[in-house]
């Protein structure tokens, strides 16, 4: 079964009584375990596409199926439950609650989830949080405040939070946009690893290096998908140079 099926998606904003068609007849199919990058110039509708297909924003027309379920037909409570238990979100800015430690921010959605009640289940959540933090190399900042850690560490903590409930799909909006090169590399390494473990990922990026590590790149311009470049599975950093070159050439063709 496809993870995400988008059919004839349209999104229109009315600004100053003028209709602004941000997304026009978008059709996408993302299969389970795929990592799809969305690229395009500023204002092309990349982020709007991500927010609309993930149910964070309402669509104007069309249909979005998540594992065969029409997310537009879900009520707010069902949509919250879907976001909580089956989706994960990573934002460009590393948003976390200021009054909570890094660790508490990570486990919060898990405690709220359907599997978060009961002493035994909460123990399992804590074990998973520790395992995720260990894997992402941030165990030592668990008890820190969010203003006590670097951007890269914080973004990895955000990734831990997005993974805590074993989501079927992760939506990432410019996950490396606010990071330096080194942190950006580390974050992408983690996303590739998660994807290799079977989690479907859809990410929006400006960065060719980031997009080159995905299985497929969609190019969006003026609210429409202008093209698609299929790489196939990313096998390791030895491929980086060649994938980036190919992507660069294709993007030039697209007029990026």
């Amino acid at each position: 079964m496809n993870t995400l099926t988008v059919k004839d998606l349209c999104k229109t904003y009315i600004i100053n009584k003028r209709q602004n068609n941000v997304l026009k007849n978008i059709n996408i199919v993302i299969e389970q375990g795929e990592m799809v990058a969305v690229m395009g110039p500023s204002g092309s509708g990349k982020s709007t596409l991500l927010y609309t297909v993930s149910g964070m924003d309402h669509l104007t027309a069309g249909r979005v199926d998540f594992f065969g379920k029409d997310i537009n037909a879900l009520n707010p409570s069902q949509m919250s439950s879907l976001r909580l238990n089956e989706m994960g979100f990573i934002f460009q800015q590393m948003y976390m609650l200021k009054n909570l430690s890094i660790y508490d921010n990570i486990i919060l959605p898990a405690y709220q989830s359907k599997n978060g009640k009961g002493k035994e289940k909460r123990k399992q959540i804590n074990d998973r949080a520790k395992e995720l933090m260990h894997k992402l190399g941030i165990s030592e900042i668990a008890e820190h405040d969010i203003n006590e850690v670097s951007g890269g560490q914080l973004q990895r903590a955000c990734i831990c939070r997005s993974l805590i409930n074993h989501p079927k799909m992760i939506f990432a909006d410019e996950p490396t946009g606010a990071l330096n090169q080194q942190n950006s590399k580390e974050v992408m390494k983690e996303l590739n690893r998660i994807n290799a473990e079977g989690t479907t990922i859809m990410l929006v990026t400006h960065d060719m290096k980031v997009a080159a590590k995905s299985d497929r790149v969609l190019y969006i311009e003026d609210g429409s998908i202008k093209g698609e470049y299929v790489f196939g599975k990313y096998k390791g950093q030895e491929e980086n140079r060649e994938r980036e070159k190919k992507l660069s050439a294709w993007l030039m063709e697209m007029g990026f």
């Binding site: 707010p76 709220q112 989830s113």
Partner: protein
Amino acid sequence: MFLRILRKDLKRKRTTNLILLLFIILASMFLASSVDNLIAVNGAIDHFMEISKVPDYLAIALTDGKTDEIADFLHEQQWISEYEVITGFNLINEDVTITECQTDSGKKAYERTNTLFIETIPTDFMKVYTQEGESLTLKPGEIAFPKVEADNNNLQVGDKVSIRVGEEEKEFRIAVIVKDAVFGSSMMGFKRLFITEEDFAEYEGQEDVIRTGIYNVNYIDKEKFQSEWKEQDFKVISAINGPETIRMCYIMDMLIAAILIVVSVCLILLAFLVLRFTIVFTLQEDYKEIGIMKAIGLRDAGIKGLYLVKYLALSVAGAAIGLVCSVPFGKAILNKAIVNIVVEQAEQNYAVNIVCAAAIVGIVLLFCYASADKLKKISALEAVRSGSDGERYRAKSRLKLRKRARMRPYFYLALNDILSSIRRFGVLLVTFCLGMILILLPLSAANTLKSDGIISEFSISPSDVYLDTGRGETYTVDMDSLFRDMEDIERTLSKHGMKAVTGADMGYMIPCYSDDPDDSVSYYILQEVGNWDRQYSVLAGREPELANEVMITELTADELEVGIGDTVYFKMADRTQEMIITGTYQSMINMGQGYRVSRSAKMDPDYAGGIMCVQVEIEGMESEEACERLKEIFPNYRIMDAKGALDNMIGGIIEQIDTLMYFIVAIVLVINSLITVLLMKTMMTKERGDIALLKSIGFGNGPLKGWQTFRLLMILAASVVTGTLLSNVLAPYLIGPIFAMMGATSIQLVTGTAEAYVFYPLLLFVVTGFTAMLCAGGVKNVDLKEVNDIE
């Protein structure tokens, strides 16, 4: 940028600014009207005393209308400048019949509230005035009633009553409801009706009727006069030491104005708390703009000026509206507070209102100036980074989620927020706590006065029924008639199948002293009479048992500097009785002054001042049922339970406190709701990003509303508990002195009632909680995309 911030502030924080404006309006309205009223009432009492010509000393005594030794004494007195004797006839309930009543209540039997006289219109001393403050004039056939008597019998101008004195009965039309300076206050135990001299003359010829002489005296030399007066040993039923004592009786009339001042002070405090809260919040919200202004070189003073301008505008607008509202509001309160007082017909003193409103503006600005001082402490960098300089490693006080194995996350978030911002939420706690205390203190006073045992604090033993035959003064000249009436009551009840015993406390006014006979002062002395041996509460020692034993109130003991085992002397006409003090007690009769003697004490009946009521104890019957039955059996008697009897004795204080409390409850509920709206709106504005983030990670509207609501409910719960505990601690210090003023020096205040512990806390909880829930509904309007607004 200045204007942009100001515009943004006024637009975005519309609700916050509106609520702050409302608090400033309320604070200035309450302060201006209550200060003005207090000055007006205080001035009005002085003015009323002056125009009524209240004497320096006044004595009331019963006479036979033939000889008047007091008048003879006054006539010969050299230490007084002037005197006047007013003669009236005593009226009992049966002497007055309602013959025509517009309210058509069907009630014909008259029920007097206090000892009642009928007399001519006073011309020299103790003058009375109409409701409009004009001198009283009547035509033959017309009568003037004091308000309390008219209200008690549903009488109004135009109604007709028939008055019988001895064998003579005449009908009168009520022409005026009067204000009586000396006897008008609710605490005074005498009331007067007025008729013309022509009408009064028709009663004059009556034989064998009780007359009352009111003797008004102005001194030349107080000491010498009083010394000679004491030597005469006149038998008086009451003696009042001039305007000061009478002024004390108007304390209840000033109480409402005084409590309104307390409420307004609390409102001002709340306005400041709200102000501080909003200023600090506004500053935090505007950190970025402030940072940019600082970064481009604007000085702190300039930035501070921006905020001062805003609060100046708000406080001036609020104070102006409050000032305008304070005039009709103050008048409405004043009219309620001064039903018994004639207010000087002068122009409204707007200056007081203006000064109060200006004071509010000044205080608000000073407070704002001090609060905005925080600007100095923050650097441009810190401000741009929303209060964080990125270099702080101070861990915030918080709970660890993973250690809360059973706690729901929204509950955890609420609790963690409170613990992380103790100061911010502390302000709310103090506010709610104040509200709780404001409700519980008058409640404690009202409950104490309504409690079953309170009657014994008045040195009256509890009984099923308290019965006023309306013949209290008749008993003073013919004490046997009291015993006949009591026997008659027992016999009648027995015929109706009720086994009853009756008893009463006869009051005597007798000069007493401890050391020097020249220092003797008349005190109210109670003695139990009737077939029923009753128990009286004592504070120390024991009840008097022998003829020469006496119990003394603590206040009198302090005044005379005597204690248990000491001797006091009662100066009666034919002898001076030596009495040994066996115990102390407290009483709210006669402002806590007096004695109680044993049944066997030999008291001179010439000094008898009457009884308050006949007490009836019925075997096997509850008070409520007994009162209902006795009302049917004795339709002409006034039948009361303990609460009614007490209320009758202390002039309707319970009802006034109840009314006041309902008013305070309404105010507190409105304030709590306003503060809740303010806090929730402000917090939600600040936390929109966090709410959006939580929504994006799967929190539904329900848990988010729970987070926002629980935070407030937890504070509310803590405030209710703290407020209740604090009011229990504070009550003896704040309410105790009021009771002590009335004579109850060691009263046990009633605090732990279901009303105090359950009803009012629950009411606050439900109303404030409901407001919080309504406000929390706002989370559903937060768009998930606002996650990008997190700073």
